[in-house]
């Protein structure tokens, strides 16, 4: 019996070791369409993605991720390598004094936003990975980006078909299956050369590539999804080695930060839906202060919902309506507040978006967003400032390829025009429109 237990656990131990080894060898920010997944499965981009370009997932895309990125057409495609590159034009309502960023003008900037290289696909029969490294063309630095290495198996639990798995990743919610959670949420790319609101909840991107976590997940009966993970902050030397610069003066995650996820979902053929909750609890050493000076404490609790309607399930390039929503509430406790009355704070972010993908080719989308919370603290640049921001994002995206009858199967393009409209920006209504942004981007993706 003992030998049998050891045999059963050996694949799990081997998987964890392999996942750790992969993370050490290599090192994402936004999720994108990855043509090596398309090559591995023999499926066009539209099979997995709404609008035939990532990262918005359809039911098959979620199943592919759930099962560890290993589903294939049975042919050999190793190694699964891919690349993406995108450039853009940004116009803001008002010039940004001193330039939109170093090396850029005060307005009307063209940029090569990002060039990314991926290992995305199977490693072994049950182990797969999405590993992205990115050259940031605005910051002019190369760094590890979103990474999610998975081991997944199918097993009966209480006599019901279930999928369980392990994930090793560097960003809370990067492992998630739905596009309502922060890392894979709309908008799927945005201008790095436009002003953005100061206040954001911690789970809304601040942990990206700053942590390493291991989690376990179960999808039971295609109805209930649970995931639990523990994250540790990466040391400054590690972050420097992985290209995260500057490290000095940035926040550090102290100790272990637990992350949780619970979702109820189902696919009914033409329609699928999800409602759920997720969150994280983290101790943060502010501004890179020396250890021992006290840590701030953040608890983020969120709820989310998704709905998708596919007009013709037998047609991969069918029209699809998608809607996503989330609300994130953050409770903040500060170890050394500049004003004693500000030892506690809170922040709430709400977002909701809807898109209508026409023939997986033209996808108009609209989003409403709002953030509000307590005065001062880390939420505002000034002691009495308010963190409130709100507005809308309107976008039209065009992807000519990625369908069963497309002329090319080895790559894809996405041309998008986006308009970000602010009704309030960092507590100010007057002048909020100065931050309105026109962002036009062209994204190319291909596999090797």
């Amino acid at each position: 019996m003992a030998a049998r237990i050891a045999f059963r656990h050996r694949p799990v131990r081997a998987a964890i070791l392999a996942m750790a080894a992969c993370l050490l060898l290599v090192g994402v920010r936004q999720a994108q369409a990855v043509p090596s997944f398309a090559e591995q499965t023999g499926q066009p981009c539209a099979a997995c993605h709404v609008g035939a370009f990532g990262p918005q997932l359809r039911p098959y895309g979620r199943a592919f991720k759930l099962h560890g990125y290993v589903a294939s057409d049975g042919k050999r495609h190793f190694p699964p390598l891919a690349a993406t590159v995108y450039g853009s034009f940004t116009h803001t309502g008002k010039d940004q004094p001193g330039g939109a960023a170093r090396w850029f003008s005060a307005n009307d900037n063209f940029a090569m936003d990002q060039a990314s290289f991926y290992y995305a696909g199977a490693i072994t029969r049950h182990l797969g990975a999405f590993i992205q490294t990115t050259y940031d063309g605005v910051g002019r630095q190369y760094q590890i980006d979103n990474t999610d290495i998975r081991y997944a198996r199918e097993r009966d639990i209480f006599g019901i078909d279930s999928v369980w798995g392990l994930t090793l990743n560097n960003n809370p919610t990067v492992s998630d299956l739905w596009n309502s959670t922060p890392i894979w949420g709309f908008p799927y790319n945005s201008s790095p050369l436009a002003p953005s609101p100061l206040a954001a909840t911690r789970i809304d991107g601040s942990f990206s590539q700053q942590v390493l976590g291991i989690g376990a997940y179960v999808m039971w009966n295609d109805w209930v999804y649970t995931e639990a993970a523990l994250y540790r902050g990466l040391g400054r030397d590690v972050r420097n080695a992985l290209g995260t610069v500057p490290v000095a003066g940035t926040d550090s995650v102290m100790g272990t930060a637990p992350y949780w996820r619970l979702a109820v979902q189902h696919d009914h053929g033409r329609s699928n839906w999800e409602i759920g909750t997720y969150g994280i609890d983290a101790a943060i050493l502010a501004g890179g202060a020396p250890a021992g000076t006290g840590t701030d404490h953040y608890t983020d609790v969120a709820a989310d919902a998704n709905y998708q309607f596919t007009f013709h399930p037998r047609v991969v390039a069918s029209d699809v309506i998608s809607a996503h929503a989330t609300i994130i509430t953050e409770d903040q406790h500060f170890a050394a507040p500049p004003v004693p009355s500000q030892s506690h704070g809170n922040l709430t972010t709400m977002r909701a978006d809807i898109s209508y993908s026409i023939a997986a080719t033209v996808t108009p989308s609209a989003q409403w967003f709002s953030t509000n919370g307590s005065t001062g603290g880390v939420n505002s640049a000034t002691l009495l400032g308010r963190p409130d921001s709100s507005g809308a994002v309107l976008e039209v995206a065009y992807s000519p390829f990625g369908k069963p009858d497309s002329l090319i199967a080895w790559g894809n393009l996405r041309l998008a025009a986006q308009y970000v409209l602010y009704t309030k920006f960092d507590g100010q209504t007057q002048g909020a429109a100065d931050n309105n942004t026109v962002y036009v981007s062209l994204w190319a993706a291909w596999h090797f």
Binding site: T41, S72, R155
Partner: protein, 108 residues
């Protein structure tokens, strides 16, 4: 003379055997199988008809051992795959490409 008689007897049995073996057709559409489970007899066939506009790839798995599943190869849109079941048992049918596509065949 005996040899000719034996050959004639065998030749007569071949169409008889073919007539006895039944074929059940399962449609693959919308990335699902048209049935969740079917029961057939030993020697029967199950035909999988791809009515999607993307490839499928049938795997036939006996018991829980998914490492030794029989791979029926890539099945382009419009193609059918005929799978004979020559022994009794419960078989899981899945698509290698679409892991959510599952059904079972019970062979009696």
């Amino acid at each position: 003379m005996r040899v000719y008689l034996l050959i004639e007897l065998l030749a007569a049995l071949v169409p008889l055997a073919a007539a006895v073996a039944a074929t059940t057709t399962i449609v693959q559409a919308g990335q699902t199988f048209s049935e969740a489970e079917v029961a057939v007899k030993v020697g029967d066939h199950v035909k999988f008809q791809n009515q999607d506009d993307v490839n499928h790839n049938i795997l036939v798995q006996e018991g829980d051992d998914d490492d030794n599943a029989r791979d029926m190869g890539v099945q382009p849109p419009g193609d059918a795959v005929d799978v004979p079941f020559d022994k009794a048992g419960k078989f899981k049918i899945r698509c290698h490409i679409h892991p959510s596509m599952k059904m079972s065949v019970t062979v009696q």
